[in-house]
């Protein structure tokens, strides 16, 4: 997957490295080959390494996706053109996992962006202990994802002694209710259970991005609006929100890219059961347990195509932030 996004030229006033940029090349004045390669050389190890370790396996995945290949019966390996792709879209369980992936990603991203925005607005003003509260809010994001998922599964959702039901029983007990309903969260609402755990983990990330956006607002502009008699709501709608647009886009797109790929939470909380198997989990299962190599590869290619669609927008957003950065110096 190579970037096809048009990238802005560096402005002449340029970023801080401007004075060291290679002298402008005029047609007819080709710089010495040795000099060009001396500049390229430091880049090459990283580039070659990355192409070898990330691009080659993907090419292999594409090739395998055209074969009917189950590793349990290796003799039957045969070219099968697009039949694996046909199966990805016709097999109900695979189709369901495509749907689950979209639903899980969209709900987690939307809820965590909204919560993240509210938290960012709350943390944007000064108050005593702001640093400490910020640390509290970031903590969910810093737990190892498997630890967080295990915690939700066993410590919070457990129907017998989980904190959620425990706190509910305690709360109901205050009002003299002895046996309040004790839902079994994971089997009653499996997808919501996974989504809640992910929202908890990803809200701090959204908050941090949006906080960076809030703090880059122009103070003079805000003050001018205040002097003109704008109230808080007007300032939010007409100044803050438009300013935050790029950061909101960035949060949504990056959140989508990371959460589409989520494996840890699905694997740990439900092991893909009860209709929570997303594509990464299904692909993992298709090749690791069912040994259907061709089918798993086709599903992998489908994920990549979906991701490219999202990533194209993401690259455009990053590219515009990047050019603002380069232009500002």
């Amino acid at each position: 997957m190579s970037a096809s996004v048009s990238t802005p030229e560096r402005s002449p006033a340029g970023a801080s490295g401007a004075s060291s940029a290679p002298a402008p090349r005029k047609p007819g004045r080709v710089p010495g080959r040795a000099r060009v390669w001396a500049i390229r050389a430091p880049l090459l190890p990283a580039l070659v390494f990355l192409i070898a370790v990330t691009q080659l396996p993907f090419v292999a995945t594409v090739v395998i996706s055209f074969f009917d290949w189950n590793s349990l019966s290796p003799d039957k390996r045969a070219f099968s053109a697009f039949s694996n792709y046909g199966e990805v879209f016709s097999d109900p369980s695979l189709r369901d996992s495509v749907f689950t992936t979209v639903l899980l990603t969209a709900s987690v991203v939307i809820v965590s962006v909204v919560l993240g925005l509210l938290l960012a607005l709350l943390l944007d003003r000064k108050f005593i202990g702001r640093g400490f509260v910020r640390t509290l809010l970031i903590t969910p994001f810093l737990l190892v994802p498997v630890s967080a998922a295990l915690m939700w599964k066993h410590v919070l959702y457990n129907p017998e002694y989980g904190l959620l039901n425990g706190a509910w029983a305690w709360f109901a007990g205050l009002f003299g209710v002895d046996n309040p309903g004790q839902p079994d969260w994971i089997s009653d609402m499996p997808l919501a259970a996974v989504a809640t755990a992910l929202v908890w983990q990803w809200t701090p990330f959204m908050m941090l991005i949006l906080l960076a956006g809030l703090q880059s607002r122009s103070a003079e502009q805000m003050e001018a609006a205040r002097l003109d008699g704008a109230n808080a709501w007007q300032m939010f709608c007409y100044l803050t929100l438009p300013h935050l647009r790029r950061y909101l886009e960035l949060g949504v797109l990056l959140g989508s890219i990371y959460i589409v790929q989520n494996f840890d939470a699905v694997f740990t909380i439900t092991a893909g059961g009860l209709g929570t198997a997303n594509l990464p989990y299904t692909i993992y299962q298709t090749f690791y347990q069912a040994h259907e190599y061709g089918l798993a590869s086709a599903a992998g290619v489908v994920v990549v195509i979906g991701t490219i669609v999202v990533a194209t927008f993401a690259l455009r957003v990053v590219s515009s932030l990047f050019s603002e950065e380069a232009g500002r110096a």
Binding site: L43, T139, L142, V144, P145, M151, W200, F267
Partner: protein, 291 residues
């Protein structure tokens, strides 16, 4: 974006008092929200210091006496599996992949920010696009390669994969840090006859040290957290801490205090690294877009 704007200043004396009162209310609200939001993690920490009997009560018993039993059992006091090999494997994978990332990313960032290659923005976006490639899309060939070359259950194979996973992020972050290094001191060193490795090690690295440290912490966190590759490519010998955590639950049955202790221990290095690099963490995750 790199500098914080001045705090909100309230110019009007009349508005000042209501503003101050509202600030107090919002400050208290922020505290309440922060504590509620963090409560599950705090509860896990508290439970890790309870006995198994007190950990699994309904209603919960936050006031139960504290004990280190959960940690003692986790570290193998009752003859269970020792957590040290997986912890050491995770440490090996994280530290060595981070070191290799630095060795590869620093010269690349130099070529992308100081002595700029032609079409440097295209190269930057190529690095970024590899990060957007879902891991599952290359997992099977990587597994087959490891299987056929005898690299399954080998921690050094994970080191290579984690290096490729973190390299794009590191290149992006380092590019932005190196762009802040004054060109004049680099040119002065080159006039004195210093070659590239010397320039990087003696001139660039010291100036960009805080940025390099933050980049390293982020690469460390991502490697430490990784589950999918580790789950598919390791077995017994090269098992990492996240894989150990998942298998630990099923093999030992459910001991809540012990599970909480295990989660706390495995998360501690990441929490420490994360608090140290919290601003840069977002920059890393947002692929260098937010400074």
């Amino acid at each position: 974006m790199s500098t914080l704007t001045a705090p909100n200043t309230r110019g009007h004396a009349g508005a000042a008092r209501t503003g101050r009162r509202r600030s107090t209310v919002l400050g208290l609200l922020a505290w309440a929200v922060g504590i509620v939001f963090c409560a599950p993690a705090l509860w896990m920490l508290l439970t890790s210091f309870h006995s198994e009997a007190d950990a699994a009560t309904n209603p919960p018993s936050p006031g139960a006496p504290l004990t280190l039993d959960g940690y003692r059992v986790f570290f193998g006091a009752d003859g269970g599996a020792s957590p040290w090999p997986p912890l050491i494997n995770s440490l090996t994978a994280s530290v060595f992949s981070t070191l290799i990332v630095l060795v590869l990313a620093l010269p690349a960032a130099y070529a992308l920010s100081i002595k700029r290659v032609e079409k440097w923005t295209d190269v930057m976006f190529f690095f970024l696009s590899t990060k957007m490639l879902p891991v599952v899309a290359g997992l099977l060939p990587v597994y087959l390669f490891a299987k056929n070359t005898g690299m399954l259950d080998n921690i050094w194979f994970l080191v290579i994969l984690y290096t490729s996973m973190n390299l794009p992020i590191a290149v992006w972050m380092m590019q932005s840090f190196l762009a802040d290094v004054p060109v004049s001191i680099i040119e002065a060193a080159q006039v004195d006859g210093a070659r590239l490795p010397t320039v990087l090690a003696r001139v660039v690295a010291p100036v960009a040290a805080p940025g390099i440290a933050a980049t390293s912490l982020i690469c460390f966190i991502f490697s430490w957290n990784e589950l999918l590759f580790a789950r598919v490519l390791t077995g017994v010998a090269a098992q990492t801490a996240p894989v150990f955590l998942t298998s630990f639950v099923t093999s030992q049955g459910l001991f809540l205090a012990q599970l909480c202790a295990a989660s706390v221990v495995v998360s501690l290095p990441v929490l420490a690294a994360g608090f140290a690099a919290q601003d840069k963490l977002v920059q890393g995750l947002s692929l260098g877009a937010v400074k």
